[in-house]
Symmetry: C2
Subunit: 403 residues, 2 copies
């Protein structure tokens, strides 16, 4: 059996661990059947350009695989490329099929977020209609944790671990002066507030900050925000606010950048800076905003061991599904709610049911005032950040894997 | 002998290690003389309010001291408070002296940056003029590395270690797509480009990025910058620019925030965002700016072991100087240039010679084109980031010390 694996969408700290999982599981098949595993550079776009690479060359070495797991972003490169509706135009599908057949590929494994699952759904659907035996399986990843049908997504736990570490350090930094101050931390999450909400985890370590947490799922007005801040300042010298980039007050046009990506997603920027200016002009205290930016998705030195282990297991499971002859499926993780211990089993669902849907943060876990997260969420988040993965250091700096 | 120790100025990752050094050295004096050591909250401002705390209560425990060394920011709190010219008004000096005498303090140790050394110089000078035996000694700290008379400053090495780690991860993150892109990283350093310059260290690990590095010490025009970027894009798909926050193109008014602190320092913000917008409108490629913000000074989980060790040794040396009866001195570090190995000795200088002077980055280490740093700088920076200090973890999150 001949596998091809590619990565797509925005980087995470765990997407390379999934690649290692795919590679290792495919290699294990070799003991009883002829198996080959090719890497495809730059996702479906690179597939169209036949950018294949030999994974054995570097990944047959265990040290390289360990280093790859500790390397952020997509080692195979990525793309943002949306397949057209095959009903309208299937020429690109024919081209993909021809390339897959030319290279004798039986299964195409695609590691990505919900746009990538759209590719898995469309391509597998079209191939099946054409009676092609080529299978297409999706391995989830996104720091946004907004894919449906899975307890959480690989990449999310490491982003949460980065966030809790960084926020706890920022909290110390913000507390040094006598004067009252406000710090606004802008956190990634275009449509769903999972990552921002996870800042409530610091309560498990006795922190009172962030005192205010705002998600796109909640109601938000600048007036309400300023009142919340004034109220929090009565009891806290240093007030920390965690705000999702996707929070949009009614006067949102003031800070939207107006730029959008190939999927029509607006690039949001500046809610933190905008609220900083509001606090400065309306409250007049010391105020700062911090945008955690791409560090949220690429700080592999703070990866969660649990996350990397699960990401690799998702990659392994994808190989199993493909070997079983399944197609159009996305690997999922299911949490055993009846177990006192955290326990995950790996399953699968139709990629089309995951594609293009956003799993938002449960409103039941947002407090009635809309500015804090309930303790139930702590129980949900806490297992995802357990375990540290030390970076490989050279000259006091990190060493990364590169193909 | 009775010591009082306080911290002042902006936080660093090493300022608490200096506090531990002071505490431990003072405790060691106890074997042959009666010694007491008090903490003062919120620097000279807290001294005026008699905010003393008993350090023995928590710091007699070695685990607490180890945790304190791993805790960012000033555990004793900080202040930004400038003493007036004693010739004009010495009432505050009289008050400080009365408080120090009331509490029987023989030596006041002040851990801080160059504004704090101004306090050490003025206070020690005035006390000496009044024939007071009370000694005042300064322990340097700043992530800016801009104090004169010392090879480098405690706190700087850890900031560099954070920067190299984070930049190397951002470099991976930026390289994933096929499309040409520019990333602008805005780095702290109001007047001196030491920290920004240290991004050249990544070359020691085989990185080609950042391809462009701009310091306040160099000439900078937006036009020159855009030409540099266009040129770099000819050979690099992903161009990374490290830009000091203190870089001021002639059209600087456009992005200065207009806010300034108690010392009249302008709060700079937005050179990164400003250049991002320039690249977008003039070059039209994918572009992003990242502001590393307070994380540069508070990311203790990435502290340099060398930095923390030296910071503690500086604190120890301050106790020695005070015990010798010296006053108005700042601890310095001298590098043995004749040794093949990195070797530091601890010495001292007049605090007045350090106060209010800025040690800028050597122009000789900036390339003629003004957009890169020479290899000599790598040799200077490299020893400062050696050694890792693991954070103390609890529930997958860091544990910090708090008084």
């Amino acid at each position: 059996m001949r596998f091809a694996v590619a990565q797509s969408g925005g980087p995470t700290c765990a997407i390379n661990a999934s690649l290692v999982g795919v590679y290792e599981a495919a290699c294990e098949l070799r003991s009883h059947t002829h198996t080959e595993i090719l890497g495809v550079l730059h996702g479906i776009q690179g597939l169209l350009d036949e950018q294949f690479i030999d994974l054995d060359k570097s990944l047959s070495d265990a040290d390289n695989r360990a280093l790859l797991c500790r390397t952020p972003a997509t080692a195979l490169g990525s793309c943002r490329f949306r397949l057209p509706d095959p009903q309208q135009d299937d020429s690109i599908y024919k081209k993909v099929r021809a390339i897959l057949e030319k290279h004798g590929i039986d299964a195409f494994l695609y590691i990505g977020g919900n746009d990538s699952m759209d590719t898995v759904a469309k391509l597998s659907g079209w191939l099946a209609e054409q009676n092609s035996p080529i299978r297409v399986i999706g391995v989830p990843k996104t720091i946004d944790n907004d894919l449906t049908g899975t307890d959480h997504t690989p990449g999310f736990g490491s982003a949460v671990k980065y966030l809790t570490m960084t926020l706890s350090e920022i909290i110390r930094d913000s507390a040094v002066y006598c004067v009252p101050s406000v710090l606004i931390c802008e956190i990634m999450g275009r449509d769903a507030g999972w990552l921002t909400a996870s800042s409530c985890l610091l309560r498990a370590n006795g922190e009172t900050a962030p005192q205010l947490i705002y998600l796109p799922e909640g109601e938000f007005t600048v007036e309400g925000f300023l009142n919340d801040v004034r109220e929090a300042m009565k009891t806290h010298k240093s007030v920390i606010c965690a705000v999702s980039e996707g929070v949009t007050p009614p006067d949102a046009d003031l800070f939207r950048s107006g730029v959008s990506d190939a999927y029509g997603h607006a690039y949001l920027s500046g809610i933190g800076k905008y609220l900083e200016n509001q606090v400065r002009s309306e409250i007049g205290c010391k105020v700062r905003s911090v945008e955690l930016n791409v560090m949220q998705r690429c700080s592999s030195h703070l990866a969660s061991a649990t996350d990397l282990t699960e990401a690799a297991a998702c990659g392994r499971h994808a190989v199993t599904l493909a070997a079983q002859g399944l197609t159009g499926r996305m690997v999922t993780m299911q949490r055993d709610d009846n177990s006192a211990e955290y326990r995950i089993t790996f399953s699968d669902m139709a990629a089309k049911d995951a594609a293009n849907y956003i799993r938002t943060f449960p409103k039941a876990w947002i407090t009635p005032a809309g500015n804090q997260i309930s303790d139930e969420a702590i129980s949900y988040f806490l297992p995802l950040i357990q375990g540290e993965v030390l970076p490989v250091m050279e000259n006091g700096m990190p060493k990364h894997f590169r193909f």
